[in-house]
């Protein structure tokens, strides 16, 4: 079923969430919630085991200074497959998940067998979660079955490991395409299997393409997920990623989740934020709420 989207009113609705005023207790709780939903990410060619270990420390304990109430750990650390064993070991004994990009991230422009093999390797190395990319070229050319088949194939390889499917909304061109792609991916990933709540996510972007997680694109994913829940009772997760650097943007996302899919989704099992520098800003804001003054960047950035 094709659900048309109108860009003008979509943008107006998306902007309305940014007009909410999040203050006092609501801000304190919202910042902590946002920390708990983070997929702390590093996806650079220059990533090293040492850097990954530092990121893991930060993931487990986002703020080194004592703060009351304590700040939760982030949800996951997301890296390239080669660093999965290092991250896995560094996170051992904690609740923080190991997430790996796979399927020839970020472009997906290699044969499907190679992409599946990469996924298998990431899982064998200990990844709890796989962030896959789709073939945007196939989608834009109208070969929807091909996209559905690759999502299905990766999901099969994943088994019980959670799967996040990156649409790369910045390359899809129109809100109509984003909505159509989200519906297609959700349908393919949940087809024929009993999918538990939160086992499948739709994710906006790789972070390598701009625009990335804009408010309208995230709203489209949330609406697709809401409609799927209404139709089937299955809760699909949503993960905006890319370009979310400030606490305020994270709080706006929480507002959008709350008013679009409802409070059930306000948990790391169903909503994640993919980011790297955002955590530093969340930390500074949290320190501000407890101390009454801002921490210097060197007080919080420890990677």
């Amino acid at each position: 079923m094709h659900r048309p989207v109108d860009a003008v009113m979509l943008a107006r609705r998306a902007a309305s969430f940014t007009r909410r005023s999040i203050k006092a207790d609501s801000k304190r709780a919202g910042l902590r919630l946002a920390v708990s939903m983070l997929d702390l990410t590093t996806l650079e060619g220059a990533d090293s085991p040492e850097l990954a270990r530092a990121l893991c420390r930060k993931a487990i304990q986002p703020i080194p200074q004592p703060i009351d109430p304590p700040v939760p750990s982030v949800a996951a650390v997301c890296v390239y497959p080669r660093l999965v064993p290092v991250v896995r070991e560094a996170l051992l004994g904690t609740d923080v998940k190991t997430a790996s990009v796979a399927t020839s991230f970020p472009s997906g422009q290699v044969p499907i067998d190679t992409r599946l093999a990469e996924t298998e390797a990431a899982l064998a190395a200990g990844a709890d979660e796989i962030d896959m990319v789709i073939s945007r070229g196939a989608f834009l050319a109208g070969r929807f079955d091909e996209v559905a088949a690759e999502v299905r194939a990766v999901k099969d390889v994943c088994g019980d490991a959670h799967l996040k499917v990156i649409l790369e909304t910045g390359e899809l061109g129109t809100p109509d395409n984003i909505r159509r792609c989200a519906d297609l991916v959700i349908e393919a990933a949940t087809q024929g299997a009993d999918v538990p709540d939160g086992a499948v996510f739709v994710k906006t972007s790789t972070g390598k393409v701009s625009p990335a997680a804009t408010m309208p694109s995230v709203l489209l994913l949330l609406e697709a997920v809401r409609d799927h829940f209404r139709a089937t009772g299955v809760r699909i997760g949503v993960k905006p990623a890319g370009g979310i650097r400030k606490s305020k943007a994270a709080l706006h996302l929480l507002v959008m989740v709350r008013e679009t899919v409802g409070p059930d989704w306000l948990c790391p099992q169903l909503f994640r934020i993919g980011a790297s520098s955002l955590l530093d800003d969340l930390a500074r804001q949290l320190l501000w709420t407890s101390r009454g003054h801002y921490a210097a960047m060197h007080d919080v950035a420890v990677t």
């Binding site: 109108d6 909410r20 999040i22 203050k23 919630l33 009993d194 939160g198 948990c267 099992q269």
Partner: protein, 489 residues
Amino acid sequence: MTSAESRTVEALTGSDWDYSPAPERTRPDIASEYGLFIDGEFKEPQSGKTFATTNPATGERLARISEAGEADVDAAMAAARAAGPKWARLKGRERGKYLFRLARRIQECARELAVLETMDGGKPIKESRDVDLPLAAQHFFYHGGWADKLQWAFAGRNVRPRGVCGQIIPWNFPLLMAAWKLAPALACGNTVVLKPAETTSLSALHLARLLQEIDLPPGVVNIVTGAGDTGRLVASHQAVRKVAFTGSTEVGRLIMQELAPREIPLTLELGGKSANIVFADAAIDQAVEGVVGGIWFNQGHVCCAGSRLLVEESILEPFVAALRDRMAQLRVGDPLDKNTDVGAINSREQLDRIRSLVAAGQEEGAILHDAQTDSLPEKGHWFPPCFFTGVQPSHIVAREEIFGPVLAVMTFRTPEEAIRRANTTPYGLAAGVWTDKGSKIFEIARRMEAGVVWCNTYNQFDAGSPFGGVKESGFGREGGLHGLRGYVR
């Protein structure tokens, strides 16, 4: 691991995360008493009468307002007439400077004026801050630009101002309506006697303070406060050469009768019962958004409110479900809280009217769906956002202008039926058409009997875009080039 085990994921934690109160703390400097703004000064009313203005959200008295009697209106008219020739002779670019200066002062004082508007009228601070104030400033900027370009606006004509304009404005967008009326009149070189609505005089009186600050020549704008009697004195005064009125169709009719024997050009912007037509092929989530904004914006106190919803029958059920979910997200309450979506009903009289019309709807058998009835504040005037389903076109809630947060939902099966149902009303102010099909948009829009037709959007306002009605919604246009026509001869 068995498949049953593999499916036991961690329990969802969810969250009851909600927004803390976010009260706007700015407070405007409200005087205890306000005189009449005549000839550049605030003057005690010769009538000796005053009345109270209250905050409809709390019942608290804000100030005492003067009631202009006959002698007061005479004085205002005399001041406007005396100031007329010099103001009309002033070069257009000089008049423009005053308008630009006023627009900038409004921007500088936007926060105080927004709070004042919210306290006096009950509308959410979010709306007065994000809609009323920016648009009011925009109207003065826009018309300031026309002031020295009238010879291009009216090519081939040497236009002159009409003279003294009597302008009467409503209580739903007090400052914005003042801007809509004043800006074109002043740009064209007219002088004005303006009468604000009696429940919402404060923002116009604070605008008068700004007029003093920008050194507008005395008498160019005079503001007389009061109720219907004062309005009648303004509209029927012998000195007026142009009357502009925004308000109810009932009063508009009286003004027209009053002016019938005289050759006074009239602009009337009256009531409405505007239809939003949603086709099955529309972008549904965005259509829901448009319907929500169309009826629940400003508590439904909007002349162009999309108070009738016509939904294609095949999508009635999901559309109503989506509308109900969306309605549940509206936060009703303290208008000064920055997160409030729906504020207080403007007056006791209006609340009573809404209540009686909703009761009539229920008696006629329509089904009421409302939101958040239990958590409304105890003091003040409140009515929760609601809509009726099972409405017949003959029902009172489908015919009468309610001017409150009440939507009547009906269905149609074919475009012809949609057009017929939408046009079956004495009003003709606005309409909305929602479809993904361009050809359908043009066909329906062409056949709507309405002054404004919005396509895949609603409530879009701009100083450059003419606004006004047909049929019993009035005549004449405000805004844009069309809006200037009423103020020149």
